[in-house]
Each structure stands twice: as structure tokens, then as C-alpha cells.
């Protein structure tokens, strides 16, 4: 997965053509750490079908807030640089990565 920061966020996400997935996380966020192995597995499984990235919000607080993310974990899909769907902590707990996977298929269709 591509590590995002304020230096490359615009180029990798907002100026990207296709579908981009971003995991907003932080090392202090226990639910994020619990989720991380599943997110990595999801990214590996679907490698090449979309761009998979993660953003450690610890050093990129303003960037996250500018993306309207103020809670962790948050998983967001961007298409053509526009935010098209986001999963918050409760949505992830409810549907698991299966729901995220279904959304990926829907957005690729």
C-alpha cells in the first residue's frame, strides 16, 4: 500500500484518474491496528484493480480534517479525485471488510 502524507496526497489521490482507496489510521487507534491486517490483505488481493493507500493521521491531522475525516478508522474511496464513499468505525464494525469489498466491486462495475 502507498503511504500518504501531505507531500504526495494531492498527486496520489486528488489528481489520480481511477479508483483510489485510502485507510485513515493512527498508531494510537486500537481499532485501526486491529483492522490493519485485514486492510492489507484486502489491498493485496485486489492489487492492480485500484490504487490502495493509507494515511497515518498522527502527522497529517490538517490533511485528514480537510478530507472531512475526524474519526478513526475511516476508509474512503475516491474516484477521479472526488470522494465517492466512506466507511466510519461503526460501519466497518457492522459490515466488516466484506462490505468494503462489495463497495469496491460496485465502484469498479
Amino acid at each position: 500500500m502507498i503511504e500518504l502524507s501531505k507531500e504526495n496526497f494531492d498527486a496520489e489521490v486528488l489528481e489520480a484518474e481511477g479508483l483510489v482507496f485510502v485507510d485513515f489510521w493512527s498508531p494510537k487507534c486500537e481499532p485501526c491496528m486491529a483492522l490493519m491486517p485485514e486492510v492489507i490483505a484486502f489491498a493485496e488481493k485486489n492489487a492492480g484493480r485500484a490504487k490502495f493507500c493509507k494515511l497515518d493521521t498522527a502527522g497529517n491531522r490538517r490533511l485528514a480534517i480537510a478530507q472531512k475525516v475526524m474519526g478513526l478508522p475511516t476508509l474512503v474511496f475516491y474516484k477521479g479525485g472526488e470522494k465517492v464513499f466512506s466507511f466510519d468505525k461503526e460501519a466497518i464494525e457492522e459490515g466488516g471488510m466484506a462490505a468494503v469489498e462489495a463497495k469496491l466491486e460496485e465502484l469498479l462495475a
Binding site: C29, E30, C32, T57, K68, V69, M70, D88
Partner: protein
């Protein structure tokens, strides 16, 4: 699924991990099934000053890491999986996870824990993860130099409010009681009252959360005068208790009307060889220390049960008494 565990534990919070420690020290084949990261709600609580022996700058995640290391040290296995079905009848009990795996145990310790309760006010759902939070350790960083409100006044609310003052500019606590009355312990109350970053709104409840894409403000309602005041804030932290994670246990073990697992004081449920520990069981005090105590009791009861000594369970008489 040929292996049969002596003790199969569902959930690796403090109760489940302690049952693991006692079970594996008793040389019993012990495993814990956990869907996320071990540690339960305690692992998302930064300020924890009441677990015996850990008072020097210990945090919830650190204490829970020690619990986990302790259980693994004595041989407890930790299996990743989300339990979707249980067959608790019969001598060998079966537990199935979301991925389709089935695990077998001669005894089962249920330690599913609880989830923070939501307020149910306008704006709360749409603004989750956008300023509305139930986890200070997850989200406090975002609120550096910003203003937040905390709803609630129990131990968790006041202690997490104190943690939030390390980041936020102001932390306003909305309390339903009269001025000066808090449900939390006296030491935390005294500390919070002295904290210059904490402001108080008494006799009040949160009525509405406003904001387009991020939280912009809240309406606070005074329950004595019905007067509504608008506050401009960027964050809303909700700590108003919890609900037990027992939906998947409905029809499997006896639950009370609120969904808590009914046990006797030996943590025995209404099914022989099945125990319940921690926040999800009917009890007076929900703390890490009482969850740990439950875990010890359940593991020892399970050990006795396996030896054929005791076959205790919650009796129909107790059930009918509790259900009244």
C-alpha cells in the same frame, strides 16, 4: 475441527484473558477467539489509574498488552475470528466463526464485552467519524486547539474528558445532574473540577448535533427550564455507558431484558459448562478488576466441572427472580 479444547473463551478483553491465564496455568488446553485486537474496551481507554499495581503512568492499552502477554506466556492460544454461531448443548460445545471455522470445547467462557451506548439525538449518526466520537484515544488528536463537549459524568466520561484536555482548547462537560453532582469517583471529580480547561454545564442534556460535513455546533437543553443553548464546538465525545454485545447469544444462554448474560456468583450461566465474565454479564460494577475476577472464577469453575466435581448452573428459580 478435530481438536477439542478444555476451555474455549469468546472475547479477549480483561475477563477472557484472565480466564485464559487461569485455564492454561491449570494445564488445561485453552484458547480465546477474538474478532479484533485483544484488550476489549480497556484497550481504548487511555487514563486507567484503578487497576491494582499499575498507577505510574499506565494506560489501558499497555495494561491490556501485559494481560495478553501473561495469558500467552502460560500457553493460551489466541485465535482470530468473529463468532457467528454456537452450539452449547451437549458434552462438546461447538463454536463457528464468520470464516466458517468450527472450534470445539468441553467448556465455554463467554466474554463478549460491551459497546458504547449512543445518544440517539439528531445529527449523531450522520456526523459519526466527523466530530462525533465514542473513543477518545482514537480521535483526541484531531481536536488539538479545538473546542469539544463531553456527554456523561461517570468514571469514563470524566477520565476521558481529562485526557481530552491534553489536546483540545476547551472541554465542556454536559451533566444531567445538579451543580457539583457527578457519578464518577471522588478523586477524578476533584481533579476535573480543578482543571482550568474543563467547563461545566449542569442540569442539561445534549439535544442536537449540527454540522454539514463536520460538527459545527450543538444544542444543549436545560432539563429544569427547557431552555436551549447553542454552542459552537468541533467535537462531541459521548460516554454514557454501554450495551452488551450479546445479540449473537440470543436463544443460546439466558439473557436479562437489557441483554446481559444471567449468571450466579460463580459466573455459571443456565447451561452446564458455560460461563460468562466481564461487562456482558449481569453485575454491580463493570471494571477491569471485576472482569479479571470473573475470569479467574469462571476458569476455576470450568476446571472443577471438567474434573466432574461440580455441575452448577443458574437455576430456573434464580432466572425467574431476575426476570421479574
Amino acid at each position: 475441527m478435530s481438536e477439542v479444547y478444555d476451555i474455549l473463551i469468546v472475547g479477549a478483553g480483561p475477563g477472557g484473558l484472565t480466564a485464559g491465564i487461569y485455564g492454561s496455568r491449570g494445564r488445561l488446553k485453552t484458547a480465546i477467539i477474538e474478532k479484533g485486537r485483544p484488550g476489549g474496551q480497556a484497550a481504548t481507554t487511555m487514563e486507567m489509574e484503578n487497576y491494582p499495581g499499575f498507577y505510574k503512568e499506565a494506560s489501558g492499552p499497555e495494561i491490556m498488552d501485559e494481560f495478553l502477554a501473561h495469558a500467552k506466556h502460560f500457553g493460551t492460544e489466541v485465535i482470530k475470528g468473529q463468532v457467528t454461531d454456537l452450539d452449547l448443548q451437549g458434552e462438546v460445545k461447538k463454536i463457528t466463526t464468520k470464516s466458517g471455522e468450527t472450534y470445539q470445547g468441553r467448556t465455554v467462557v463467554l466474554s463478549p464485552g460491551a459497546t458504547p451506548r449512543t445518544l440517539g439525538v439528531k445529527g449523531e449518526g450522520p456526523l459519526r467519524g466527523k466530530g462525533v466520537s465514542y473513543c477518545a484515544t482514537c480521535d483526541a488528536d484531531f481536536f488539538e486547539d479545538l473546542d469539544v463537549v463531553v456527554v456523561g459524568n461517570g468514571d469514563a466520561a470524566i477520565e476521558e474528558a481529562m485526557y481530552l484536555t491534553k489536546f483540545a482548547e476547551t472541554v465542556t462537560i454536559i451533566v444531567i445532574h445538579d451543580e457539583g453532582v457527578l457519578d464518577c469517583n471522588k478523586m477524578s471529580a476533584e481533579k476535573a473540577m480543578k482543571n482550568p480547561k474543563i467547563k461545566w454545564i449542569w442540569n442539561s442534556v445534549l439535544d442536537e448535533i449540527q454540522g454539514e460535513e463536520l460538527v459545527e455546533g450543538v444544542n444543549v437543553k436545560n432539563i429544569k427550564t427547557d431552555e436551549i443553548t447553542n454552542l459552537e464546538v468541533n467535537g462531541v465525545f459521548v460516554f454514557i455507558g454501554s450495551v452488551p454485545n450479546t445479540d449473537f447469544l440470543e436463544g443460546k444462554v439466558a439473557l436479562d431484558k437489557q441483554g446481559y448474560i444471567i449468571t450466579n456468583d460463580r459466573c455459571e450461566t443456565d447451561i452446564p459448562g458455560v460461563y460468562a465474565v466481564g461487562d456482558a454479564r449481569v453485575k454491580f460494577l463493570r471494571q477491569v478488576v471485576t472482569a479479571a475476577a470473573d475470569g479467574a472464577i469462571a476458569a476455576v469453575c470450568a476446571e472443577r466441572f471438567l474434573e466432574g466435581h461440580v455441575e452448577g448452573r443458574v437455576t430456573p428459580e434464580l432466572l425467574s427472580k431476575l426476570n421479574k
